[in-house]
Symmetry: C2
Subunit: 124 residues, 2 copies
Amino acid sequence: MKKTDELIQSTQQNGQVACDSFHATIEFIGKRWMGIIIYHLLDGPKRYHELATEIDGISDRLLTERLKELEAHGFVVKRTLPSSRKVEYELTEQGIAFDPIIRSILTWVKANGGCTESKTESES
Amino acid sequence: MKKTDELIQSTQQNGQVACDSFHATIEFIGKRWMGIIIYHLLDGPKRYHELATEIDGISDRLLTERLKELEAHGFVVKRTLPSSRKVEYELTEQGIAFDPIIRSILTWVKANGGCTESKTESES
DNA sequence: CAAACAAGCTTACCAATAGTAAGCTGAATT
DNA sequence: AATTCAGCTTACTATTGGTAAGCTTGTTTG
C-alpha cells in the first residue's frame, strides 16, 4: 500500500473527499499569522491587545481578520466583557484540538532548527 | 507553568529564539500549496507533471516556485534524469520529517471534519 | 465633568503574493 | 519534418497582506 493511500485511509474511506478537506484545512491554518495566533491562544484566553503585543509584527487589521475567521469557524469564542471595553478571545474545544499540530511543528523545529536558513546561493 | 512556556521549553531554553523559528517555519509550510505538495511527495518521488496532475487547481507557476523553495531549503532534491526530459522530485530526510505534521493535520481533519463549513450565518 | 487617552476595531491606500494564460525549449513521437 | 508534450518562464490581472491613520466608546485625570 502506498503511503498516500495509507494517509488518506486514515481519515476517510474516500480519498478525494479526505484530500479536499485536508486541502481546505491546511490552507486555513496556513494563512498568514493563523498558526501563531492559535499558538498564543493555546496559552489560555487572551485579550486583543495582549495578542497584538505578544505577536510581534502583526497588524491590527490582520489580527482582527484572523480572529474573525477563527470565530466564524468555531475555533475561537469572543467574549466581550459587558461592563467595559475588555474583549477576550478563547479557543473552543475544536480550537484546542489544534494543539497536536502546533506541537508537531515545534517538534520539527526542534529537530531541524527551523526554516530560517535560505540556502539561496545556488542561483548565480 | 503556563502552556506557552511549556511549548517553548520543549524546543529550546530560550523562548524568543524558539518563537522566531517557529514563526518562520509555520509561515514557510503554511505558504499556499506547500503542505499539499509535501503531502503528495510523502508518497515517494514524483515527476513534475505527476504532481501537477494530482494537485488539483495548482498552476505551473506556483508548483515550480514552491518546488524551488523546497529545494532551496533542502527539503526536496530535484533529479533530472539526464537522458530525457524526465524530472523527479523527492523529499530529503529533512523533508520526510514533515510527515508527523501532515499526519497531525490529517488526524485533526478526521476528528473535526475539516475547515470547509464556514458558519458565517452569525452576521445578520 | 470635560479633555485626554486607550482598547478594539475599521478604512484607505500601496506592496507583495497568487491566479491565469500564453509562450518557450528541446526531447520524443509520428 | 512537423507535432506533441514535459517542464518550465513570462506577462498580466486579481487577491491578499502591510502600513498608517482614524473612529468609537469606556476609562482615567485634572
